[in-house]
Amino acid sequence: MITLTNIHKTYPARGGGAQVRALADIDLSIGRGEIFGIIGRSGAGKSTLLRTINLLETPSSGSVQVDGVEMTALSAAELRRARHSIGMIFQHFNLLSSRTVFDNVALPLELAGTPKAEIRTIVEPLLDLVGLADKRDRYPAELSGGQKQRVGIARALASKPKVLLSDEATSALDPETTTQILHLLADINRRLGLTIVLITHEIAVIKEICHKVAVMEDGLVIEQGPVFDIFAHPKHPTTRSFVDPVINRGIPDSLRDRLSPQPGPGSNPVLRITFTGEKATTPVISAISRRLGLDLNIWHGQIDEIQGAPFGTLVVEALGDDATVGAAVDLVKENNLGVEVLGHALPANH
Protein backbone atom coordinates (compact mmCIF):
# COMPACT_ATOMS: atom_id res chain seq x y z
CA MET A 1 0.00 0.00 0.00
CA ILE A 2 2.78 2.40 0.96
CA THR A 3 6.35 2.02 -0.21
CA LEU A 4 9.05 4.42 0.81
CA THR A 5 12.34 3.90 -1.00
CA ASN A 6 15.61 5.46 -0.02
CA ILE A 7 14.05 8.57 1.49
CA HIS A 8 16.37 11.36 2.57
CA LYS A 9 15.33 14.67 4.07
CA THR A 10 17.70 17.44 5.00
CA TYR A 11 16.58 20.83 6.26
CA PRO A 12 18.80 23.61 4.97
CA ALA A 13 21.09 25.42 7.38
CA ARG A 14 19.56 28.56 8.77
CA GLY A 15 21.02 31.47 10.69
CA GLY A 16 24.56 30.10 10.84
CA GLY A 17 23.48 26.70 12.17
CA ALA A 18 24.36 23.42 10.51
CA GLN A 19 21.89 21.73 8.20
CA VAL A 20 19.62 19.18 9.85
CA ARG A 21 19.50 15.62 8.61
CA ALA A 22 15.95 14.67 9.56
CA LEU A 23 15.70 11.42 7.56
CA ALA A 24 18.27 9.19 5.87
CA ASP A 25 18.14 5.91 3.97
CA ILE A 26 14.53 5.17 4.85
CA ASP A 27 13.09 2.05 3.24
CA LEU A 28 9.67 1.01 4.45
CA SER A 29 6.96 -1.10 2.98
CA ILE A 30 3.52 -1.03 4.53
CA GLY A 31 0.97 -3.61 3.45
CA ARG A 32 -2.72 -3.03 2.75
CA GLY A 33 -4.83 -3.23 5.89
CA GLU A 34 -1.83 -3.15 8.20
CA ILE A 35 -1.50 -1.08 11.35
CA PHE A 36 2.08 0.06 11.10
CA GLY A 37 3.66 1.76 14.10
CA ILE A 38 6.68 4.04 14.06
CA ILE A 39 8.30 4.62 17.40
CA GLY A 40 11.21 6.79 18.40
CA ARG A 41 12.28 9.43 20.85
CA SER A 42 11.60 13.12 20.39
CA GLY A 43 13.44 14.49 17.38
CA ALA A 44 14.02 11.05 15.84
CA GLY A 45 12.24 12.15 12.66
CA LYS A 46 8.90 10.39 13.11
CA SER A 47 6.69 13.33 12.18
CA THR A 48 8.91 14.20 9.25
CA LEU A 49 8.65 10.62 7.99
CA LEU A 50 4.89 10.47 8.41
CA ARG A 51 4.46 13.79 6.64
CA THR A 52 6.45 12.60 3.63
CA ILE A 53 3.76 9.98 3.02
CA ASN A 54 1.17 12.63 2.07
CA LEU A 55 3.94 14.94 0.92
CA LEU A 56 3.25 17.63 3.50
CA GLU A 57 7.02 17.30 3.67
CA THR A 58 8.84 16.93 0.37
CA PRO A 59 11.70 14.45 0.67
CA SER A 60 15.09 15.72 -0.52
CA SER A 61 15.40 12.48 -2.46
CA GLY A 62 13.72 9.11 -2.70
CA SER A 63 10.41 7.69 -3.79
CA VAL A 64 7.03 7.72 -2.03
CA GLN A 65 4.44 5.37 -3.45
CA VAL A 66 0.91 5.23 -2.09
CA ASP A 67 -1.50 2.75 -3.62
CA GLY A 68 0.74 2.41 -6.66
CA VAL A 69 0.99 6.17 -7.28
CA GLU A 70 4.35 7.89 -7.16
CA MET A 71 3.47 10.87 -4.97
CA THR A 72 6.60 12.87 -5.70
CA ALA A 73 5.75 12.95 -9.42
CA LEU A 74 2.28 14.50 -9.02
CA SER A 75 1.35 18.05 -9.98
CA ALA A 76 -0.07 20.28 -7.26
CA ALA A 77 -3.65 19.57 -8.36
CA GLU A 78 -3.06 15.82 -8.65
CA LEU A 79 -1.45 15.80 -5.23
CA ARG A 80 -4.49 17.51 -3.71
CA ARG A 81 -6.70 14.84 -5.25
CA ALA A 82 -4.42 12.08 -3.98
CA ARG A 83 -4.62 13.54 -0.49
CA HIS A 84 -8.38 12.96 -0.45
CA SER A 85 -7.60 9.27 -0.07
CA ILE A 86 -5.13 9.80 2.80
CA GLY A 87 -6.71 10.83 6.10
CA MET A 88 -4.65 12.33 8.89
CA ILE A 89 -5.13 12.82 12.63
CA PHE A 90 -3.02 14.94 14.93
CA GLN A 91 -1.78 15.16 18.50
CA HIS A 92 -3.56 18.46 19.08
CA PHE A 93 -6.60 17.45 17.03
CA ASN A 94 -6.44 20.54 14.78
CA LEU A 95 -10.20 21.03 14.73
CA LEU A 96 -11.67 24.33 13.55
CA SER A 97 -12.90 26.12 16.65
CA SER A 98 -15.39 28.08 14.57
CA ARG A 99 -17.17 24.96 13.30
CA THR A 100 -19.47 22.54 15.05
CA VAL A 101 -18.64 18.86 15.29
CA PHE A 102 -20.80 18.16 12.24
CA ASP A 103 -19.24 20.96 10.21
CA ASN A 104 -15.73 19.90 11.16
CA VAL A 105 -16.36 16.38 9.90
CA ALA A 106 -17.99 17.83 6.78
CA LEU A 107 -14.99 20.04 5.95
CA PRO A 108 -13.03 17.59 3.76
CA LEU A 109 -16.22 16.86 1.82
CA GLU A 110 -16.93 20.57 1.33
CA LEU A 111 -13.39 21.00 0.07
CA ALA A 112 -13.95 18.19 -2.42
CA GLY A 113 -17.16 19.82 -3.63
CA THR A 114 -19.54 17.15 -2.35
CA PRO A 115 -23.21 18.28 -2.51
CA LYS A 116 -24.79 19.25 0.83
CA ALA A 117 -27.39 16.49 0.87
CA GLU A 118 -24.74 13.86 0.25
CA ILE A 119 -22.50 15.32 2.96
CA ARG A 120 -25.22 14.60 5.52
CA THR A 121 -25.53 10.99 4.48
CA ILE A 122 -21.78 10.55 4.97
CA VAL A 123 -21.19 12.59 8.13
CA GLU A 124 -24.05 11.25 10.24
CA PRO A 125 -23.03 7.57 10.07
CA LEU A 126 -19.46 8.63 10.85
CA LEU A 127 -20.60 10.46 13.97
CA ASP A 128 -22.38 7.27 14.98
CA LEU A 129 -19.26 5.25 14.30
CA VAL A 130 -17.16 7.38 16.63
CA GLY A 131 -19.98 7.65 19.18
CA LEU A 132 -20.59 11.38 18.94
CA ALA A 133 -24.04 11.57 17.34
CA ASP A 134 -25.35 13.52 20.34
CA LYS A 135 -22.58 16.12 20.06
CA ARG A 136 -23.26 16.97 16.45
CA ASP A 137 -24.00 20.68 17.04
CA ARG A 138 -21.41 21.27 19.73
CA TYR A 139 -18.23 23.26 19.23
CA PRO A 140 -14.78 21.74 19.88
CA ALA A 141 -14.37 23.96 22.96
CA GLU A 142 -17.27 22.05 24.52
CA LEU A 143 -15.64 18.63 24.10
CA SER A 144 -13.13 16.60 26.10
CA GLY A 145 -9.79 15.65 24.56
CA GLY A 146 -10.96 12.15 23.74
CA GLN A 147 -14.11 13.47 22.10
CA LYS A 148 -12.07 15.94 20.07
CA GLN A 149 -9.89 13.14 18.79
CA ARG A 150 -13.01 11.18 17.83
CA VAL A 151 -14.09 14.17 15.77
CA GLY A 152 -10.61 14.21 14.25
CA ILE A 153 -10.95 10.54 13.36
CA ALA A 154 -14.42 11.00 11.86
CA ARG A 155 -13.12 13.96 9.85
CA ALA A 156 -10.17 11.92 8.59
CA LEU A 157 -12.53 9.16 7.48
CA ALA A 158 -15.03 11.45 5.76
CA SER A 159 -13.37 11.32 2.36
CA LYS A 160 -13.30 7.51 2.54
CA PRO A 161 -9.51 7.28 2.57
CA LYS A 162 -7.50 4.13 2.05
CA VAL A 163 -4.78 5.24 4.41
CA LEU A 164 -4.95 6.91 7.81
CA LEU A 165 -1.89 8.73 9.14
CA SER A 166 -1.78 9.36 12.86
CA ASP A 167 0.76 11.74 14.39
CA GLU A 168 0.85 11.07 18.13
CA ALA A 169 -2.94 10.96 18.16
CA THR A 170 -3.13 9.77 21.75
CA SER A 171 -0.21 11.67 23.27
CA ALA A 172 -2.42 14.41 24.69
CA LEU A 173 -4.87 11.95 26.25
CA ASP A 174 -4.99 10.12 29.58
CA PRO A 175 -4.27 6.36 29.60
CA GLU A 176 -7.91 5.29 29.68
CA THR A 177 -8.94 7.58 26.83
CA THR A 178 -5.85 6.46 24.95
CA THR A 179 -7.02 2.88 25.17
CA GLN A 180 -10.49 3.83 23.93
CA ILE A 181 -9.11 5.74 20.97
CA LEU A 182 -6.72 2.90 20.12
CA HIS A 183 -9.56 0.41 20.20
CA LEU A 184 -11.57 2.68 17.93
CA LEU A 185 -8.66 2.77 15.48
CA ALA A 186 -8.23 -1.01 15.62
CA ASP A 187 -11.96 -1.41 15.07
CA ILE A 188 -11.88 0.91 12.05
CA ASN A 189 -8.88 -0.97 10.71
CA ARG A 190 -10.78 -4.25 10.90
CA ARG A 191 -14.12 -2.98 9.68
CA LEU A 192 -12.99 -0.75 6.85
CA GLY A 193 -9.75 -2.53 5.98
CA LEU A 194 -8.01 0.81 6.39
CA THR A 195 -4.22 0.92 6.37
CA ILE A 196 -3.06 2.86 9.43
CA VAL A 197 0.37 4.38 9.94
CA LEU A 198 0.78 5.73 13.42
CA ILE A 199 3.69 7.34 15.14
CA THR A 200 4.15 7.39 18.86
CA HIS A 201 6.79 7.57 21.53
CA GLU A 202 4.80 5.20 23.73
CA ILE A 203 5.63 1.54 23.30
CA ALA A 204 2.32 0.63 24.93
CA VAL A 205 0.52 2.02 21.88
CA ILE A 206 2.55 -0.23 19.59
CA LYS A 207 1.95 -3.23 21.82
CA GLU A 208 -1.75 -2.56 21.93
CA ILE A 209 -2.72 -2.31 18.27
CA CYS A 210 0.15 -2.42 15.78
CA HIS A 211 0.94 -5.36 13.54
CA LYS A 212 4.32 -4.09 12.44
CA VAL A 213 6.69 -1.56 13.86
CA ALA A 214 9.68 0.48 12.80
CA VAL A 215 12.01 1.95 15.39
CA MET A 216 13.61 5.29 14.54
CA GLU A 217 16.62 7.05 15.89
CA ASP A 218 18.48 10.07 14.51
CA GLY A 219 16.59 10.01 11.24
CA LEU A 220 17.28 6.33 10.64
CA VAL A 221 15.05 3.30 10.89
CA ILE A 222 17.18 1.12 13.12
CA GLU A 223 14.91 -1.89 13.30
CA GLN A 224 11.62 -2.97 11.78
CA GLY A 225 9.45 -6.03 11.57
CA PRO A 226 6.35 -7.70 13.00
CA VAL A 227 5.59 -6.35 16.46
CA PHE A 228 5.80 -9.80 17.98
CA ASP A 229 9.30 -10.41 16.68
CA ILE A 230 10.57 -7.00 17.71
CA PHE A 231 9.17 -7.41 21.21
CA ALA A 232 10.42 -10.95 21.60
CA HIS A 233 13.85 -10.36 20.14
CA PRO A 234 14.81 -6.70 20.13
CA LYS A 235 18.26 -6.34 18.60
CA HIS A 236 19.17 -2.67 18.84
CA PRO A 237 19.84 -1.23 22.33
CA THR A 238 17.33 1.57 21.69
CA THR A 239 14.65 -0.94 20.77
CA ARG A 240 15.52 -2.87 23.90
CA SER A 241 15.12 0.24 26.03
CA PHE A 242 11.64 0.75 24.56
CA VAL A 243 10.57 -2.86 24.92
CA ASP A 244 12.03 -3.71 28.33
CA PRO A 245 9.68 -1.64 30.47
CA VAL A 246 6.56 -3.25 28.99
CA ILE A 247 7.88 -6.74 28.43
CA ASN A 248 9.56 -7.81 31.61
CA ARG A 249 12.51 -9.65 30.19
CA GLY A 250 14.68 -8.66 33.08
CA ILE A 251 15.37 -10.23 36.42
CA PRO A 252 14.74 -8.88 39.89
CA ASP A 253 17.43 -6.61 41.30
CA SER A 254 18.16 -8.90 44.24
CA LEU A 255 19.13 -11.70 41.89
CA ARG A 256 20.91 -9.41 39.44
CA ASP A 257 23.53 -8.73 42.14
CA ARG A 258 24.51 -12.38 42.12
CA LEU A 259 24.94 -12.44 38.35
CA SER A 260 28.41 -12.19 36.86
CA PRO A 261 29.38 -12.25 33.20
CA GLN A 262 32.24 -14.69 33.91
CA PRO A 263 31.97 -18.12 35.58
CA GLY A 264 33.43 -18.08 39.10
CA PRO A 265 34.12 -20.70 41.76
CA GLY A 266 30.94 -22.66 42.43
CA SER A 267 28.88 -20.62 39.95
CA ASN A 268 25.98 -21.93 37.89
CA PRO A 269 24.89 -20.69 34.45
CA VAL A 270 21.71 -18.61 34.31
CA LEU A 271 19.54 -19.10 31.25
CA ARG A 272 16.69 -17.08 29.86
CA ILE A 273 14.18 -19.20 28.01
CA THR A 274 11.59 -17.39 25.90
CA PHE A 275 8.31 -19.01 25.01
CA THR A 276 6.39 -17.65 22.10
CA GLY A 277 3.03 -18.37 20.57
CA GLU A 278 1.28 -21.61 21.40
CA LYS A 279 4.57 -23.19 22.43
CA ALA A 280 4.25 -21.40 25.74
CA THR A 281 2.57 -24.47 27.13
CA THR A 282 5.24 -26.95 26.05
CA PRO A 283 6.40 -28.73 29.17
CA VAL A 284 10.06 -28.28 28.38
CA ILE A 285 11.18 -27.62 31.92
CA SER A 286 10.00 -30.96 33.19
CA ALA A 287 11.49 -32.65 30.10
CA ILE A 288 14.90 -31.22 31.02
CA SER A 289 14.84 -32.45 34.55
CA ARG A 290 13.40 -35.87 33.59
CA ARG A 291 15.65 -36.60 30.65
CA LEU A 292 18.86 -34.93 31.76
CA GLY A 293 18.44 -35.09 35.49
CA LEU A 294 19.23 -31.39 35.59
CA ASP A 295 17.64 -29.30 38.31
CA LEU A 296 16.51 -25.84 37.35
CA ASN A 297 16.14 -23.19 39.96
CA ILE A 298 13.49 -20.79 38.70
CA TRP A 299 14.42 -17.16 39.33
CA HIS A 300 11.75 -15.33 37.50
CA GLY A 301 8.88 -15.99 35.17
CA GLN A 302 6.43 -13.86 33.29
CA ILE A 303 3.85 -14.21 30.56
CA ASP A 304 2.83 -11.23 28.46
CA GLU A 305 0.48 -10.93 25.59
CA ILE A 306 1.64 -9.22 22.40
CA GLN A 307 -0.88 -8.86 19.62
CA GLY A 308 -3.05 -11.52 21.21
CA ALA A 309 -0.27 -14.12 21.30
CA PRO A 310 1.30 -15.25 24.57
CA PHE A 311 4.94 -14.38 25.12
CA GLY A 312 6.68 -15.78 28.18
CA THR A 313 10.11 -15.49 29.68
CA LEU A 314 11.59 -17.78 32.26
CA VAL A 315 14.91 -17.07 33.94
CA VAL A 316 16.47 -20.17 35.50
CA GLU A 317 19.68 -21.11 37.24
CA ALA A 318 20.90 -24.49 35.95
CA LEU A 319 22.32 -26.56 38.79
CA GLY A 320 24.60 -28.86 36.81
CA ASP A 321 27.92 -29.30 35.00
CA ASP A 322 28.72 -27.62 31.70
CA ALA A 323 28.00 -30.67 29.58
CA THR A 324 24.55 -31.21 31.05
CA VAL A 325 23.72 -27.52 30.74
CA GLY A 326 24.88 -27.61 27.10
CA ALA A 327 22.57 -30.55 26.48
CA ALA A 328 19.73 -28.67 28.15
CA VAL A 329 20.31 -25.65 25.88
CA ASP A 330 20.16 -27.94 22.85
CA LEU A 331 16.97 -29.52 24.11
CA VAL A 332 15.35 -26.12 24.50
CA LYS A 333 16.42 -25.16 21.00
CA GLU A 334 15.06 -28.43 19.61
CA ASN A 335 11.69 -27.35 20.94
CA ASN A 336 12.03 -24.13 18.95
CA LEU A 337 12.16 -21.96 22.03
CA GLY A 338 14.52 -19.04 22.49
CA VAL A 339 17.37 -19.46 24.96
CA GLU A 340 20.34 -17.36 25.92
CA VAL A 341 22.92 -17.52 28.68
CA LEU A 342 22.52 -14.37 30.76
CA GLY A 343 25.55 -14.95 32.94
CA HIS A 344 26.70 -16.97 35.88
CA ALA A 345 25.19 -16.99 39.30
CA LEU A 346 27.77 -16.84 42.07
CA PRO A 347 26.91 -18.61 45.32
CA ALA A 348 24.67 -16.45 47.48
CA ASN A 349 27.25 -16.06 50.28
CA HIS A 350 30.04 -15.05 47.93
Binding site: R80, R83, S98, L111, A112, A141
Partner: protein
Amino acid sequence: MLSPQIIDLLIKGLVDTLHMVVVSGAIGTLIGLPVGVALAVTGRGELLPNFAFNKVMGAVVNMTRSTPFIILVVAIIPFTRLIAGTSIGTTAAIVPLTVAAAPFIARVVENAVREVDRGLVEAAQAMGATPFQIIRKVLLPEALPGIVAGLTLSAVSLIGFSAMVGAVGGGGLGDLGIRYGYQRFLPDVMLAVVVVLIVLVQIVQSTGDWIARRVNKRNLKS
Protein backbone atom coordinates in the same frame (compact mmCIF):
# COMPACT_ATOMS: atom_id res chain seq x y z
CA MET B 1 -28.44 74.67 28.64
CA LEU B 2 -27.43 74.41 25.01
CA SER B 3 -29.47 76.42 22.60
CA PRO B 4 -31.56 74.52 20.01
CA GLN B 5 -29.25 75.96 17.40
CA ILE B 6 -26.23 74.38 19.04
CA ILE B 7 -28.13 71.10 19.40
CA ASP B 8 -28.80 71.18 15.67
CA LEU B 9 -25.11 71.77 15.05
CA LEU B 10 -24.25 68.87 17.34
CA ILE B 11 -26.58 66.56 15.47
CA LYS B 12 -25.20 67.66 12.13
CA GLY B 13 -21.68 67.22 13.47
CA LEU B 14 -22.49 63.71 14.66
CA VAL B 15 -24.03 62.77 11.32
CA ASP B 16 -20.98 64.11 9.48
CA THR B 17 -18.64 62.23 11.77
CA LEU B 18 -20.61 59.00 11.32
CA HIS B 19 -20.63 59.55 7.59
CA MET B 20 -16.87 59.96 7.45
CA VAL B 21 -16.14 57.05 9.80
CA VAL B 22 -18.57 54.64 8.17
CA VAL B 23 -17.54 55.37 4.58
CA SER B 24 -13.79 55.47 5.21
CA GLY B 25 -14.10 52.42 7.48
CA ALA B 26 -16.01 50.50 4.83
CA ILE B 27 -13.64 51.36 1.98
CA GLY B 28 -10.68 50.87 4.31
CA THR B 29 -11.93 47.39 5.16
CA LEU B 30 -12.55 46.58 1.51
CA ILE B 31 -8.90 47.38 0.82
CA GLY B 32 -7.35 46.44 4.16
CA LEU B 33 -8.92 43.00 4.53
CA PRO B 34 -7.48 41.45 1.37
CA VAL B 35 -4.17 43.24 1.84
CA GLY B 36 -3.97 42.01 5.43
CA VAL B 37 -4.72 38.44 4.39
CA ALA B 38 -2.17 38.73 1.58
CA LEU B 39 0.46 40.00 4.00
CA ALA B 40 -0.26 37.14 6.41
CA VAL B 41 -0.14 34.31 3.87
CA THR B 42 2.92 35.53 1.95
CA GLY B 43 5.19 35.65 5.00
CA ARG B 44 8.09 33.23 5.32
CA GLY B 45 6.98 29.67 5.97
CA GLU B 46 3.33 30.58 5.44
CA LEU B 47 0.76 29.30 2.97
CA LEU B 48 1.95 31.16 -0.15
CA PRO B 49 5.38 32.54 0.72
CA ASN B 50 6.34 35.41 -1.53
CA PHE B 51 9.24 37.41 -0.16
CA ALA B 52 9.17 40.25 -2.70
CA PHE B 53 5.42 40.88 -2.47
CA ASN B 54 5.48 40.69 1.30
CA LYS B 55 8.35 43.17 1.62
CA VAL B 56 6.97 45.68 -0.89
CA MET B 57 3.43 45.55 0.45
CA GLY B 58 4.72 45.70 4.01
CA ALA B 59 6.78 48.79 3.18
CA VAL B 60 3.81 50.56 1.58
CA VAL B 61 1.67 49.81 4.61
CA ASN B 62 4.38 50.98 7.02
CA MET B 63 4.90 54.18 5.09
CA THR B 64 1.32 55.35 5.60
CA ARG B 65 1.24 53.97 9.12
CA SER B 66 4.32 55.90 10.23
CA THR B 67 3.19 59.25 8.80
CA PRO B 68 1.39 61.31 11.46
CA PHE B 69 -2.22 61.64 10.38
CA ILE B 70 -2.31 65.41 10.29
CA ILE B 71 0.76 65.44 7.98
CA LEU B 72 -0.87 62.76 5.82
CA VAL B 73 -3.98 64.91 5.39
CA VAL B 74 -1.95 67.84 4.12
CA ALA B 75 0.52 65.77 2.12
CA ILE B 76 -2.10 64.07 0.00
CA ILE B 77 -4.20 67.15 -0.75
CA PRO B 78 -3.52 66.88 -4.51
CA PHE B 79 -4.66 63.26 -4.43
CA THR B 80 -7.73 64.23 -2.42
CA ARG B 81 -8.62 66.89 -4.99
CA LEU B 82 -8.22 64.36 -7.75
CA ILE B 83 -10.61 61.91 -6.10
CA ALA B 84 -13.16 64.19 -4.37
CA GLY B 85 -12.86 67.27 -6.60
CA THR B 86 -12.18 69.42 -3.52
CA SER B 87 -9.91 69.36 -0.51
CA ILE B 88 -12.29 70.67 2.13
CA GLY B 89 -15.53 69.33 3.56
CA THR B 90 -16.76 65.99 4.75
CA THR B 91 -16.48 64.15 1.46
CA ALA B 92 -12.93 65.34 0.91
CA ALA B 93 -12.02 64.27 4.45
CA ILE B 94 -13.03 60.72 3.62
CA VAL B 95 -10.03 60.40 1.29
CA PRO B 96 -7.24 60.85 3.88
CA LEU B 97 -9.28 58.93 6.44
CA THR B 98 -9.49 55.99 4.05
CA VAL B 99 -5.79 56.26 3.22
CA ALA B 100 -5.05 56.05 6.94
CA ALA B 101 -7.63 53.34 7.67
CA ALA B 102 -6.73 50.82 4.97
CA PRO B 103 -3.15 50.09 6.11
CA PHE B 104 -4.22 50.15 9.75
CA ILE B 105 -6.91 47.58 9.03
CA ALA B 106 -4.47 45.59 6.90
CA ARG B 107 -2.14 45.22 9.87
CA VAL B 108 -4.83 44.22 12.35
CA VAL B 109 -6.21 41.68 9.88
CA GLU B 110 -2.71 40.38 9.22
CA ASN B 111 -2.17 39.89 12.95
CA ALA B 112 -5.50 38.16 13.41
CA VAL B 113 -4.79 35.77 10.52
CA ARG B 114 -1.28 35.04 11.76
CA GLU B 115 -2.74 34.08 15.13
CA VAL B 116 -4.54 31.12 13.54
CA ASP B 117 -2.90 27.85 14.57
CA ARG B 118 -0.54 26.49 11.87
CA GLY B 119 -1.87 23.05 12.65
CA LEU B 120 -5.26 23.97 11.16
CA VAL B 121 -3.65 25.02 7.91
CA GLU B 122 -1.69 21.80 7.87
CA ALA B 123 -4.81 19.74 8.53
CA ALA B 124 -6.56 21.46 5.62
CA GLN B 125 -3.56 20.87 3.37
CA ALA B 126 -3.60 17.22 4.34
CA MET B 127 -7.25 17.14 3.22
CA GLY B 128 -6.24 18.43 -0.18
CA ALA B 129 -7.49 22.01 0.20
CA THR B 130 -6.34 24.66 -2.28
CA PRO B 131 -4.69 27.77 -0.84
CA PHE B 132 -7.81 29.77 -1.67
CA GLN B 133 -10.01 27.23 0.13
CA ILE B 134 -7.71 27.40 3.14
CA ILE B 135 -8.09 31.18 3.26
CA ARG B 136 -11.86 31.08 2.88
CA LYS B 137 -12.74 28.02 4.97
CA VAL B 138 -10.01 28.04 7.60
CA LEU B 139 -8.10 31.29 8.01
CA LEU B 140 -10.93 33.82 7.74
CA PRO B 141 -13.49 31.99 9.93
CA GLU B 142 -10.86 31.15 12.54
CA ALA B 143 -9.48 34.70 12.54
CA LEU B 144 -12.95 36.28 12.66
CA PRO B 145 -13.01 37.13 16.40
CA GLY B 146 -9.59 38.79 16.03
CA ILE B 147 -10.66 40.58 12.88
CA VAL B 148 -13.80 41.92 14.56
CA ALA B 149 -11.74 43.14 17.52
CA GLY B 150 -9.29 44.75 15.11
CA LEU B 151 -12.03 46.45 13.12
CA THR B 152 -13.48 47.81 16.35
CA LEU B 153 -10.10 49.24 17.22
CA SER B 154 -9.89 50.73 13.73
CA ALA B 155 -13.34 52.32 14.07
CA VAL B 156 -12.37 53.92 17.38
CA SER B 157 -9.16 55.27 15.89
CA LEU B 158 -11.11 56.57 12.91
CA ILE B 159 -13.42 58.51 15.21
CA GLY B 160 -10.35 60.16 16.66
CA PHE B 161 -8.86 60.86 13.21
CA SER B 162 -12.17 62.23 11.98
CA ALA B 163 -12.13 64.76 14.79
CA MET B 164 -8.67 65.76 13.65
CA VAL B 165 -9.72 66.44 10.07
CA GLY B 166 -12.06 68.99 11.62
CA ALA B 167 -8.95 71.08 12.13
CA VAL B 168 -8.46 71.32 8.38
CA GLY B 169 -12.06 72.04 7.50
CA GLY B 170 -13.29 68.48 7.36
CA GLY B 171 -16.56 68.96 9.17
CA GLY B 172 -18.00 66.73 11.87
CA LEU B 173 -17.77 66.88 15.63
CA GLY B 174 -14.10 67.83 15.69
CA ASP B 175 -14.77 70.78 13.44
CA LEU B 176 -17.62 71.85 15.70
CA GLY B 177 -15.49 71.61 18.80
CA ILE B 178 -12.70 73.66 17.28
CA ARG B 179 -14.78 76.35 15.63
CA TYR B 180 -17.33 76.89 18.37
CA GLY B 181 -15.79 75.45 21.49
CA TYR B 182 -12.26 76.74 20.95
CA GLN B 183 -12.29 79.68 18.54
CA ARG B 184 -15.53 81.27 19.82
CA PHE B 185 -14.75 80.13 23.31
CA LEU B 186 -18.00 78.29 24.13
CA PRO B 187 -16.90 75.81 26.78
CA ASP B 188 -20.27 74.05 26.99
CA VAL B 189 -20.15 73.30 23.25
CA MET B 190 -16.66 71.88 23.73
CA LEU B 191 -17.92 69.81 26.64
CA ALA B 192 -20.93 68.59 24.65
CA VAL B 193 -18.67 67.56 21.74
CA VAL B 194 -16.37 65.67 24.10
CA VAL B 195 -19.32 63.91 25.76
CA VAL B 196 -20.84 62.91 22.41
CA LEU B 197 -17.48 61.57 21.24
CA ILE B 198 -17.01 59.58 24.44
CA VAL B 199 -20.48 58.08 24.16
CA LEU B 200 -19.92 57.29 20.50
CA VAL B 201 -16.62 55.50 21.21
CA GLN B 202 -18.28 53.60 24.06
CA ILE B 203 -21.09 52.41 21.82
CA VAL B 204 -18.71 51.34 19.06
CA GLN B 205 -16.43 49.51 21.51
CA SER B 206 -19.27 47.71 23.29
CA THR B 207 -20.92 46.67 20.04
CA GLY B 208 -17.59 45.42 18.69
CA ASP B 209 -16.89 43.47 21.87
CA TRP B 210 -20.35 41.96 21.76
CA ILE B 211 -19.97 40.80 18.16
CA ALA B 212 -16.47 39.49 18.80
CA ARG B 213 -17.81 37.44 21.70
CA ARG B 214 -20.68 36.13 19.60
CA VAL B 215 -18.40 34.89 16.81
CA ASN B 216 -15.79 33.47 19.17
CA LYS B 217 -16.44 29.76 19.70
CA ARG B 218 -13.03 29.15 21.23
CA ASN B 219 -13.96 29.46 24.87
CA LEU B 220 -17.65 28.90 25.33
CA LYS B 221 -18.35 29.57 28.95
CA SER B 222 -22.06 30.26 28.90
